[in-house]
Symmetry: D2
Subunit: 347 residues, 4 copies
């Protein structure tokens, strides 16, 4: 066993998923697990699936508790990472699953989060293709601070970036509508997240340009397209499933229809975790459940003048915890795929 | 009890829902119930909820079996209505829940259905607002043949038509993405409709401009906008719920943002079944389960230059069976709301 | 419109279901709606399905607010009914959907609830067959105070009482295991009731003789059997659905197998809301969704020496709100079935 | 990579799960995959989660196709294994996930399956504790033919066997009621397995002593108890989840209550895959999703005179495919736990 990993915020869903993945990782070991209001609880009271860690107790989230590990992963509410991160040694690899260090534009942070900007860290979406053809992966090896992308962001970005980078779709009128599982909303006790309210129900939230993932998607798609501005209509909907995001993304066709598919084929041909499905087969979130995998399909609707690209991910795996481990692998010099499942638990 | 109603195709989901509603209707009575391959079966074997009709047996779908009723409702697969409809007397009210008689454009029918066009009947979506301000309702009283709209069509049309009719959104680049319950796919035994495949899964189907509801939506939105052409990107997705459609529809803003909401308020102020929700409250399909009601909300995303209008309906009630009863009420001269539930079974 | 009904505790699920049913009742009208911590909120914020009552605001639950109605229905947490009930005039019909007035045995109340016993009211389960052949229905007409049964209690009682009353099963070793929807747990914000925890999960609760519905079931089954003691093993499990209870109840065979079915046939032959299904057809909760109906089937397992009786109800309708309206109809001298749906919203 | 494994019946759910597990197994490799009616199809058309095997095509299930592997796992319908198994060489390890070779009693086979008995193979439930204290594990190392247990059988057996072996519960009046996910019913296209029918529904099946798993459970519990006869009432119910079995099993208390828990503690203290949960924590199927793990809890209901033991497993993993790999590991001399996940994918 090589390195030890501490998890801050281990009582939440991202924390539980990080621990599930670490238990199956041959070179990363589970270190201290911490929590805020749940400190003192047994870990298994919050994560009955972690039967192998049945004797673990949650410690308070402090720099002291997190000290002495090779890696620290922060799975804290947005806005809570910056303070604790600032107290961690520079030579420890720190990955932030929250939003605090994702945006490079302080004004965008201020506009969507309403607090002071903590600055930005190298962005942990290795498969993000840039306009010049290189990928975001290049920024990660050796990094000591990594911002893990948002789950909705990952789905939308992976769905559309190849088309923007190849210039086959336009960046000026993108529409994304997502079907999202409830675990993305975390463990907060809100009436609309009760099972009785969710089962049998589909409903939108944060409609009309107010969702906090919008500037992060735009940041990624600017990198992909090279355009100064990316215009995006973004509507997430909650549907009755625990995990999974299905992102339906359309953009205006900017080339002949025949060259569209090649953009995605080329971008993802060698990717271990992002797959363009065989023609005619569309993604389903079930096929990526628990896997660090994105399934993607794309087609052209010539009558509508739009390309439709659809991505399915597990919001907790490829959308959060798996992405963190993938970037940790890269940062530590391990094989990128080490310890990460690629087969979904289906049906 | 005034009129008797025969149901052709009573073993399917639309047939079951028609019977549920008729059992609660004070002036329409259940007559003969017929089926094709299920003829001879007890009705309750297919619809255990219809306990009051436990002694009914499904008869074969023939003109003879359907004779002698005041109303015949056809709940048959697409393409199967025209032949039987042609055999029914002119003075019987016939409502077709299938697609056969919805499209006025024979070429569009041919393109999407690939068979000969049966002609079009008066279209049964009373709340559809036309560009000149009148509503589709006017076409229904006294009609003897009525085409009941498609379920996805109803959701998208009701969501967007007021904005088009008022000129506050543009008809040239509409994007609709729907989260749909599985009952819309009917009782056909297909692997992807098995419960094991659906639970935990969101997946798209008929992507890229090929769904048969597209020309019907365009037909409606042309009436609403007065435009010769309506451009529509339409993507339905299956999500894990039995009933319900949540349609997220965006169109380009064509006026100042402040005048948008008034278009919807005005269109639906007096409608008994279509409701613009209070500002800030977004539709959920749970709230319309089993009800002949559409819940709608609209907002402007100025940064994206788009209006987002979202509608929730129950695909079997307001989307099919309730719509049929509503039009039957109008055609027969009964109060439009007679016998139709407006309160959803929630949670 | 005859009588007006006030609902105390209208922000909860039972309150919402009462209002849904009252909106469809031809002779009972919706009066004041009250709440505790939600007082001052708009009703529709908690019950988006009650679009017809969109202008209603929740008042505080006080005797003053509830005054001036013909009927008051209390949909309050257990233990909260007695105090407010004592302040209501004797000539007002009061129905308590909580547990406070169900048990006749003060010691049993004390043992399971741990507080002082408020006394017992006439018990509102009309179809409960007593050992002497009469039914509980007889106690209700003209009553001014009625205790509405618990939802699990209704399912288990209706499943087994006919066999006990006829002496074809024994009361000394009954085993009941229930699959329960989450709405029975109400709107309380508990982590295990979050949608993310419930979807994909089946789990038991209150195992080992500690569930508060046990003494109430025993009370009913003593009336049915005439036995001084009824021995019951009772295990409820939460399964991923919002509404519905499926109660699987087994008891030792105490007669020849051939006479078993007749006991249920006889008990429920004339009941409008309780149905023994055709032989070979087993209940499903989907068939009673939103209906005031219980579906029951029974068989003999001779090798095991046990009768298996299974009942399906909607916990909010026949299990709570529908039962309250049914008893109110009886108490007020209205037809028992008035305003109550009998067809489930399926599929 | 050590041994290669061929899968017969790879288009079904058990086949897919076997392949998922094999892809994560460091010493077993995926060999030929075969099917019956689906032969010629691409594997990924049936199992979109198996993206790593996207280029595989299903071959017809013949002895020739299965030849040349170290291990053959049969995931075929009941009754289809015997013929193909007879054609496989004696020195190949063959595991049968079907029922054909589980029962030692030919008469019981005949009674429940109605066909000729194929004989019995060593039974692959390592953790089954026998009355004399040894475990079924002893029969597996070196075996060349192994009968993989039924999924419901595994849940009921693991729940109750320790109590029977220790004599703290009686074998003469056991009652088991199960909440089962739909994937246990496989991919057969039956109306009651459609998603529209299952979501929102709980319903029983094979009620009254007719389920084919009954003789297999009795066979196991006879081994556990040493009793000549085991009396069992067994009722499975379908609930709206894809995977998972929650078995609620009660048996009469046969000792003082204080000695009950120790029986389970002792039986499972050293088991890597079967866990008695901490007191007060009850199993949930979510915690074992995709894991080869059984979670168990037990309590005494003294008033009812019964012990209640509850087990949760994933029917496709510990209930079928994981069990097969576990036994294959043992038979091949590999560590029993090799390649098998123990952490559930929750929430």
């Amino acid at each position: 066993m090589g390195a030890t990993v501490a998890i801050a915020g281990a009582s939440g869903y991202a924390g539980g998923e990080l621990l599930r993945l670490l238990l199956g990782h041959p070179e990363l070991g589970v270190g201290t697990v911490t929590a805020h209001s749940k400190a003192g609880d047994r870990l298994i009271a919050h994560h009955p699936q972690l039967i192998e860690l049945a004797d673990r107790v949650l410690e308070p989230t402090t720099a002291e508790a997190l000290a002495g590990h090779d890696v620290v992963i922060l799975a804290l509410p947005h806005g809570a990472s910056a303070e604790i991160a600032a107290q961690l040694p520079d030579d420890v690899l720190v990955l932030d699953c929250g939003a605090d260090h994702r945006l490079t534009d302080a004004a965008a942070w201020q506009r969507f989060y309403g607090t002071g900007h903590a600055g930005s860290w190298p962005y942990g979406l290795p498969e993000l293709v840039h306009a010049d053809g290189h990928k975001q992966r290049d920024a990660i090896p050796g990094a000591k601070r990594i911002a893990v992308p948002g789950c909705n962001v990952t789905a939308v970005t992976l769905a559309l970036a190849p088309g923007l980078a190849a210039g086959v779709v336009a960046p000026d009128d993108i529409v994304a509508v997502l079907a999202c599982g409830t675990s993305g909303a975390g463990t907060s006790l809100k009436p609309h997240l009760l099972a009785s309210e969710i089962m049998g129900a589909a409903s939108p939230y944060a409609v009309g340009g107010v969702h906090r993932h919008i500037p992060e998607i735009q940041q990624n798609l600017r990198l992909a397209s090279g355009a100064a501005d990316v215009t995006l209509s973004f509507t997430p909907t909650l549907v009755p499933m625990s995990r999974g995001i299905l992102a339906t993304v359309t953009a205006k066709l900017a080339s002949d229809a025949g060259s569209v598919r090649a953009a995605w084929e080329q971008a993802y041909a060698d990717e271990p975790f992002v797959h363009l499905l065989p023609e005619g087969q569309w993604p389903t979130t079930a096929a990526v459940l628990g896997a660090n995998t994105a399934h993607i399909q794309v087609t052209v609707d010539e009558a509508a003048g739009r390309v439709v690209a659809i991505a399915a991910i597990d919001n907790l795996t490829k959308g959060t915890a798996g992405a963190a481990i993938q970037s940790a692998n890269l940062a530590l010099g391990l094989p990128e795929t080490r310890g990460l499942p690629t087969t979904g638990v289906a049906p």
